[in-house]
């Protein structure tokens, strides 16, 4: 069929669909309030859960907080405004409590007159019949407004009553069970021990369990067996590394400056500090306060100063010819946006150019927050790409060898070269902050003083007007967001999805919490226990909810395809860094050094060279050798403009800007990596050689490889398939093919091994690395 012909056919489908949709609409309008999707209108319509999401998504852009874009003077996000007589027609009202037929809001969304219809046709937005019916019912019931849930400080709720308490281990399970009962779902049984161990080991350390740990756990019949393993993993230094991976995304940590020539920077000592802080279990309050304002603490120690590298991880230009002030302000913007997104879970950045369109943040408030970060002794461009003196930008700190031996022992400095790190440091005087009209650097408006958004929590006069005061405000017990946002991020890291799915947006446009009471309970509990991170993590992994099996029945899939209600454990691929960790650890190649300068393992040739201007240390990829090839994935050097390809393919952040959540995708390029990446092939070869040096039968070798890689014993059927595959490879493998196969990677091959055997077993092992289950958290 020719192109246009096909188009016409497709148009017919669309027309037909349109017809079906209108029939559906008509049916809904005339019938009772049950919709074809099976949904019924709730008995009592809730502003927070039913109405505000509709208003926010479809109405607030023109009838919301943004004063400059407000149409007809009508504001619907604030009750007293919405009930006022309309400016354009004072005898009419947008909302008349109890009377939809007199409420212009209802009349305008339900009219058939397209010139009157709201939202306007040209907005490309429209309300579904269900949404219209909800609004109608809400008005009938009195059109009651509620304050946005996330801006009301959490209170500890009582545990809900549940019919079946038998499965509950800790408080989390009561909240989850209550929701499951409400939805008519039953939780899964506890996962089998091997899978549970793999899950908790990957989640707590980013590493697969060792065979030794597997055996020990399987043999331990005490009721405390699981808890013992959890404690052991929490005390493993790998815990700090695993927790750091998420924080490095938040802090947009990288090893290059990020613009154009994209020169090298030495910010890795800050990364070493993050690992250290998690392992030392610094409270979240201390962890964040030091990062925001370590330099402003009384008698700030070097460690506290190093922590402030957090706010200097952003991109810094080295492109000659830029305008100083434009870039300096962009760094301040980056910090302010990060503060909003990562620590407050709100999209402050939307108020950079205008009042926020959905949330109650004015542009002025944005620049008040901005003012806290606007006093740094920095310039837009300090130097163009060059030598070691450009690896950090002022303000910076020097880390001496003496520091390494005393106060900064955790910094893994491998040589005696000068080591500098970009950190925070304010001017002695105060730089004036202005609202920037349209967000443009050279259009200053009204001058503002440091402050915080009133809708969240006004800035108390007892706090100093600097970053230290801002941290105090952040950890004020009345701040409604700080604990919730962090607890939610941690929940996301351990369950695959936050209780608030949009972990960077708790505002009007964000998703509502699926388990609001649970989120509040955990947040209050977290605050009352001194913001203790390890305690929170342990709470999550000890719950029955966490320990469930990942088996999904057809009914569960149908009722809850996204596993919102947690009737099972979610399955998803582990983080890019941990995929490398798993490959390295299971093959025995992993080098367990913590921290230090980032490394350059195998990478396909030409990626940096093809994309560079030719300037700077990072213009040519000089691959490392020896132990530096086998470090954990998190130590791979990140050059922002050309990030490590395997990392990008497996959804890692490119560290351009703050990220609080990674996508989880499934693509053919991921398959190509697992099949053909020399790092995976080398690991297969090394493990094959290792197993062939052991005195064991073929089947035992296969079982051993399976346990190391998949982290459980194979079933008989699996062993049979793999053994048959191995025998076939042995028969067909030629000496030449074997020699070629074994040539991959730099790790030496032991002598006196039969190369055909190694190559054949290598193929079996490579197959194991490609199993879906291997890199999946199950």
């Amino acid at each position: 069929m020719d192109f246009m012909g096909m188009w016409q056919k497709r148009l017919q489908i669309v027309v037909l669909l349109g017809f079906l949709v209108s029939c559906w609409f008509a049916a809904c309008r005339s019938g009772s309030a049950t919709f074809t999707n099976g949904k019924k209108l709730p008995e009592t319509v809730s502003y927070t859960y039913d109405i505000r999401p509709i208003l926010s998504d479809k109405c607030f852009a023109c009838h919301g907080p943004d004063e400059n874009k407000r149409e007809a003077g009508l504001r619907l996000d604030v009750a007293e405004e919405a009930f006022k007589a309309l400016k354009e027609n004072p005898s009419a009202h947008a909302l008349v409590a109890g009377k939809p037929e007199l409420s212009q809001l209802y009349l305008r969304i339900s009219t058939t007159d397209s010139t009157k219809l709201m939202p306007p046709v040209e907005s490309n937005l429209r309300l579904s019949s269900e949404e219209i019916a909800l609004l109608e019912k809400w008005i009938k019931q009195g059109a009651n407004y509620e304050k946005h849930w996330a801006f009301v400080p959490p209170k500890r709720p009582t545990l809900p009553k549940v019919a079946d308490e038998s499965r509950a281990i800790n408080e989390i399970d009561f909240f989850v069970q209550a929701k499951l009962e409400e939805k008519g779902l039953k939780p899964n049984q506890e996962a089998d021990r091997e899978r549970l161990l793999k899950r908790v080991s990957l989640d707590l350390t980013g590493l697969p369990p060792t065979v030794e740990l597997m055996d020990r756990f399987l043999a331990d019949n005490s009721p405390k067996a699981y808890e013992k393993v959890v404690d052991e993993l929490l005390n493993n230094p790998a815990y700090g590394e695993r927790m750091a991976v998420h924080w490095l995304d938040v802090a947009r940590y990288a090893d290059s400056h990020g613009y154009q020539d994209d020169g090298y920077r030495t910010q890795w000592p800050w990364r070493d500090w993050v690992i250290h802080a998690f392992n030392k279990n610094y409270s979240y309050k201390k962890f964040v306060t030091w990062q925001l304002a370590g330099d402003l603490l009384p008698n700030a120690a070097k460690e506290q100063l190093l922590a402030t590298g957090f706010n200097r991880n952003h991109k810094i230009t080295e492109e000659g010819g830029v305008i100083q002030e434009e870039y300096r302000l962009s760094y301040v913007t980056d910090r302010s946006d990060l503060f909003g997104k990562a620590l407050l879970g709100v999209t402050m950045e939307c108020a950079h150019c205008h009042d926020h369109k959905y949330d109650p943040f004015s542009q002025k408030e944005y620049y008040q927050l901005f003012a806290f970060f606007n006093n740094v002794q920095e310039v837009g461009i300090e130097s163009v790409i060059g030598g070691p003196e450009t690896y950090a930008k002022k303000p910076l700190m020097e880390i001496s060898d003496e520091d390494i031996q005393s106060v900064l022992r955790f910094v893994n400095k491998p040589d005696t070269n000068r080591l500098i790190v970009s950190v925070m440091g304010d001017l002695d005087s105060t730089r004036k902050t202005h609202v920037l009209l349209r967000g443009v650097y050279d259009a200053p408006g009204e001058e503002v003083q440091p402050g915080t958004p009133k809708a969240i929590l006004p800035f108390s006069p007892r706090y100093p007007k600097n970053r230290l005061g801002l941290s105090q405000w952040l950890f004020d017990p009345q701040n409604p967001l700080t604990a919730r946002v962090f607890v939610n991020q941690i929940w996301q890291e351990f369950f695959g999805r936050g209780l608030v799915k949009t972990s960077g947006d708790f505002g009007m446009q964000g998703d509502l919490p699926t388990h609001p009471a649970l989120l509040d309970w955990l947040s209050v509990d977290f605050m009352e226990n001194q913001w203790n991170i390890k305690r929170l993590v342990k709470q999550l992994v000890m719950s029955a909810t966490y320990r469930q099996s990942a088996v999904v029945s057809e009914q569960q899939l149908k009722k809850d395809p996204e596993n919102i209600y947690l009737s099972r454990s979610s399955r998803y691929h582990i983080d890019a860094e941990h995929i490398k960790d798993l490959v390295m650890a299971s093959s025995g190649l992993l080098v367990r050094t913590i921290g230090g300068p980032s490394v350059k393992p195998y990478q396909p040739p030409g990626l940096w060279e093809g994309a560079t201007s030719g300037r700077g240390l990072l213009s040519i990829y000089v691959q490392d050798h020896g132990s530096r090839l086998y470090r954990r994935g998190m130590y791979t050097l990140i050059k922002r403009t050309v990030p490590p390809p395997v990392m990008s393919i497996f959804d890692a952040s490119n560290r351009d800007l703050c990220e609080v959540k990674r996508l989880k995708t499934n693509t053919p390029l991921q398959a190509l990596v697992m099949m053909n990446d020399p790092a995976v092939l080398e690991a297969s070869r090394v493990l094959a050689a290792r197993l062939l040096q052991e005195k064991s039968t073929d089947k035992e070798k296969i079982v051993q490889a399976f346990r190391r890689i998949v982290c459980r014993k194979p079933t008989d059927k699996e062993t049979e398939i793999l053994d048959a595959f191995y025998q076939k490879q042995l028969q067909t493998m030629t000496e030449t093919a074997a020699q070629k196969a074994l040539s991959v990677g730099e790790y030496p091959l032991p002598e006196k091994l039969n190369s055909r055997q190694v190559a054949a077993l290598m193929r079996v092992i490579s197959t194991l690395y490609n199993l879906e289950e291997t890199i999946t958290r199950t």
């Binding site: 192109f3 246009m4 188009w7 497709r10 148009l11 669309v14 998504d57 490309n124 937005l125 154009q260 020539d261 230009t317 492109e319 010819g321 305008i323 100083q324 939307c350 461009i381 949009t502 009007m508 446009q509 990942a550 088996v551 899939l557 998803y572 396909p604 030409g606 990626l607 093809g610 994309a611 201007s613 030719g614 050309v642 990030p643 990008s648 490119n654 996508l663 499934n666 693509t667 053919p668 390029l669 991921q670 398959a671 190509l672 099949m675 053909n676 092939l681 398939i721 793999l722 595959f725 030449t736 093919a737 020699q739 070629k740 196969a741 991959v744 193929r763 197959t767 199993l771 879906e772």
Partner: protein, 483 residues
């Protein structure tokens, strides 16, 4: 009909797809392969939101010949005899205005005008002025729409490139190719939908960045896939040494059998989807080398593109490859040719740069036309901004340079329903400001999407509370250049 849709893979909408769900798991996985966003609810249940054009498209595919570094319009397309007359004279303040300058020339004491060192002639029915540096391009002007009134907001390479490609200067947003992949799905499920080819000339170069072909917040299936010269045209495509295709097939069969056991145990549809991804990877391993193989191209074609087209990694080879990829249904082929940043030594460098790209760019248009593909393929040629009418650095009779200039630059488009044989927009007689029909970057982006059948205001993705567009919050389709 069903079969044709599958074959063309021209994506079908979510509603239609769901009606085939009853075919079972296999079809779910297949569906997600063809159009992965079917399951990604964009927030509104609009059946036209993604996966099907909003209206009848003129073009099905795009080839973007990006001239990285910003070619000087004064030496290529924008004929300004007045600049030659006024050579050495200071640019009048009334022309220069209060516009910001880059840090490279902001401290220059004087801003002497400089005319083109090269001559221009008129070509084609529209009498378009083309410089002598582009002899091949001058022969195809009747197929081109030359837009001399493009302008942008950024004055440095990184933000300007990022702005043109993603609609935002800051990065972290999906590239144009990702948006098209998201909006239209793919035609060929054995090749990546958005491919990237790099080359470099001898001129002063600026880097390119893989963030330019990032999927941003879209599914990573929409990420641009870089094809490179050498044995592994797509990263990790090649099977390991010592393994033949039968053995790979055998390994995948074992893998499928084992994964199936896992599926039986867990019932997770993602497992089946994974198996399908491996199958697609396997097909790509054959399809990509096939499409990369230029040995079957006729002598006439080799002659058309020039001898460089047989040298992998050159602009000419990439142009020929772009035609092949596009012909095979790749939605968006993005080329970058580096080396156009002539701050100094302009006459020498731009001559070399023009020689690198002139013949092959023209050949691509001619080749597509003779294959009947030009109507449905939009070809775009241009850089990220323009260059100043005054010199940067010292002006000598033989040598000068030009700084970055966001206020006007020239691009051309061909095919894909754009009016051929047209010159659109004008700059003032000193080539410094736009005199007529300005085209903002967002206007250009809106026009490209429009030609593909997409309304730039409707092609949105809701992310962190906001519906994002390629064109951010502005942009209008340039109706004047659409046939």
């Amino acid at each position: 009909m069903e079969k044709e849709i599958l074959e063309h893979g021209f994506s079908f909408n979510r509603r239609r797809f769901l009606s085939t769900m009853s075919l079972g798991l296999g079809s779910v996985a297949l569906g997600s392969l063809l159009m992965p966003d079917l399951f990604k609810n964009t927030g509104d249940d609009d059946p036209l939101s993604a996966g099907i054009p909003h209206f009848a498209p003129k073009a099905k595919r795009v080839i973007y010949l990006f001239q990285n570094g910003a070619p000087s319009q004064q030496e290529l397309f924008d004929y300004k005899p007045k600049l030659r007359e006024m050579v050495g004279q200071e640019i009048p303040p009334s022309v220069r205005g209060t516009q910001r300058l880059t840090g490279m020339t902001a401290n220059q004491e004087s801003f002497p005008l400089v005319g083109s060192f090269v001559d221009f002639k008129q070509y084609g029915q529209a009498g378009a002025w083309i410089s002598d540096l582009l002899p091949y391009t001058s022969k195809i002007v009747d197929d081109l729409c030359i837009v001399r009134s493009m302008y942008t907001e950024a004055i440095n390479h990184d933000p300007a490139l990022t702005f043109l490609q993603t609609g935002s200067q800051q990065g972290n947003r999906p590239s144009m190719g990702s948006w098209l992949s998201y909006g239209l799905g793919n035609e060929n499920k054995n090749l990546p939908n958005f491919t990237v080819l790099l080359s470099r000339g001898v001129g002063n170069g600026q880097g390119v960045y893989s963030k330019l072909w990032s999927n941003g917040f879209l599914d990573s299936v929409h990420q641009g896939v870089q094809f490179s010269k050498g044995e592994d045209p797509v990263l990790y495509l090649r099977d390991p040494e010592g393994m033949n295709r039968h053995e790979r097939r055998d390994m995948l069969d074992q893998l499928a059998e084992l994964n199936d056991l896992s599926y039986k145990e867990f019932g997770d549809p993602e497992i089946a989807a994974k198996v399908k991804q491996y199958e697609m990877a396997y097909r790509m391993q054959t399809a990509v080398p096939e499409v990369m193989d230029l040995s079957k191209e006729s002598d006439a074609i080799i002659k058309l593109y020039g001898p460089d087209c047989l040298v992998p990694g050159t602009f000419a080879a990439n142009c020929l490859l772009a035609r092949k990829l596009s012909e095979n249904g790749v939605r968006f082929v993005q080329l970058y040719h580096q080396g156009w940043d002539q701050h100094g030594n302009l006459p020498f460098e731009i001559t070399k740069q023009a020689m690198d790209v002139d013949q092959a760019s023209a050949a691509l248009v001619t080749d597509l036309k003779q294959r009947g593909l030009l109507d449905e393929t939009l070809v775009i040629w241009g850089g990220e901004f323009g260059r100043t009418s005054y010199t940067q650095g010292k002006l000598t009779p033989e040598n000068y340079g030009r700084d970055h200039h966001p206020r006007c630059f020239t691009i051309w488009m061909a095919g894909g329903g754009i009016k051929p044989g047209m010159v659109y927009g004008e700059t003032d007689e000193l080539g410094y400001n736009i005199a007529k029909n300005p085209v903002h970057v967002h206007d250009f982006q809106a026009t490209v999407l429009h030609q593909l059948g997409l309304n730039h205001e409707k092609l949105t993705f809701k992310h962190l509370g906001r519906r994002y567009r390629l064109t951010d919050i502005s942009g209008k389709v340039v109706r004047d250049i659409i046939s």
